[in-house]
Amino acid sequence: MSFNQIIFIIFSSMLLENVILSQFLGICSFLGVSKSRKSAVGMGLSVVAVIVLATTVTWLIYNYVLVLFDLVYLKTIVFILVIASLVQIIEIIIKKFVPSLYKSLGIYLPLITTNCAVLGVAIKASQNGLTFFNMLLYALGSGLGFLLIMFIFSFLREELEKRKVPKAMSGIPIALVVASILAIIFSRYVGIVKEDEGEKEKELPRTANVISMHLTPSDEYLDNIIRRMK
């Protein structure tokens, strides 16, 4: 896996396939907590940590227990238990070792159990058969995407408070409209991150037809084709 590929996965899951704006996961906490920046950033950071940990654990359980014993249908129940206990464990650990952090993050941790972003990313990562490394990057990117939107949105919400928003629109409705505008803007970022083009050559199969493509095949590859044609 090249550096470019790593960047591609993280940025794509962060910007283009953003958990909130394009996959609609974690909207409840997004609308509920984005009002003050401190809580938005706190929530975002805890979600990043929990998503990465929970996805890793559930991925391992899914691939090495559930699939092997043919118990895939138990995934929802197992995943949610894993997430709930993980959140509990993290809470205990933080409370014991970093009390100052617990003070600022503590109240958001229990909320994360019912944040559908965590369960959603965990289910998607396991079900779609990602490799371990891809899964890690995907989880990290998704978490960072959540954090980014929470961060941006805390500013927007704060700004909206100052504006003379009509009474009917104030609060959640205008926040949703702004989210819609953000979704439009984010959709324009397609192509900013590009997949590694260099890998394409290596992956070329041995078909003779490929000659007609725009790519310039390597010598070894051409030899292969000529051998085949004979």
């Binding site: 591609f8 996965i9 794509s12 899951s13 283009l16 396939e17 394009s22 996959q23 249908y73 138990l74 129940i77 238990l81 998607k124 990562a125 079900q127 779609n128 058969g129 990602l130 891809n134 990057l137 995907y138 959709s187 397609v190 192509g191 997949e195 394409k200 992956e203 070329l204 199969p205 041995r206 078909t207 003779a208 037809n209 490929v210 007609s212 493509m213 725009h214 085949r228």
Partner: protein, 172 residues
């Protein structure tokens, strides 16, 4: 300590009961789901393979007579004399965050006849109806781009490559 143990026990009893219940339901639904999948695959074969659809009585389809690492399964279409007419591949395209499974039929002339998406875990529904514009092509020069989806065009492209490539071996 004892209290904790009891609560833990209660929780596991609940989990166990639920697990058992689920396995009972699974026992009933699993065969139905399997039958559905099979039916779907049969329908897809009809859709991608015109020759077989028109000559159901005389033509035969062999499943998994050949094994390749790159594809999920292979179906060979033979006419009444046992000549190979077409080959159908079930291939999975893996993007960074989702997978789609599609069926690609390749003719004797090593041209892609048709392709359909069997299952997809894409967030957006449009990929199911997405036409990859590959029908009747024997090279991939003008491949329609799938931008903005978790399935990169590269992954789908690779599926078509693989199908075309393997057809040289399988249709000998």
């Amino acid at each position: 300590m004892k209290k904790n143990l009891i609560t833990g026990l209660v929780l596991s009893v609940f989990a166990l009961i639920c697990g058992l219940l689920l396995s009972v339901v699974n026992m009933f639904t699993a065969p139905v789901i399997e039958a559905r999948t099979e039916e779907k695959i049969n329908n897809s074969i009809m859709e991608v393979c015109e020759v077989y659809k028109n000559n159901k009585d005389t033509y035969t389809i062999d499943k998994e007579s050949i094994k390749h690492d790159e594809v999920d399964s292979v179906y060979l279409v033979k006419d009444e004399n046992g000549e190979k007419v077409e080959v159908i591949y079930v291939v999975s395209a893996k993007g960074y965050a989702s997978t789609i499974q599609m069926m690609i039929s390749v003719t004797k002339e090593h041209k892609i006849e048709r392709s359909v998406v069997i299952s997809s875990a894409e967030t957006k529904g449009d990929i199911k109806t997405h036409d990859f514009m590959m029908d009747g092509k024997d090279s991939l020069a003008d491949f329609d781009k799938l931008s903005g989806s978790t399935i990169s065009s590269k992954a789908v492209r690779k599926c078509f490559y693989t199908a075309l490539d393997l057809s040289y071996e399988d249709l000998k």
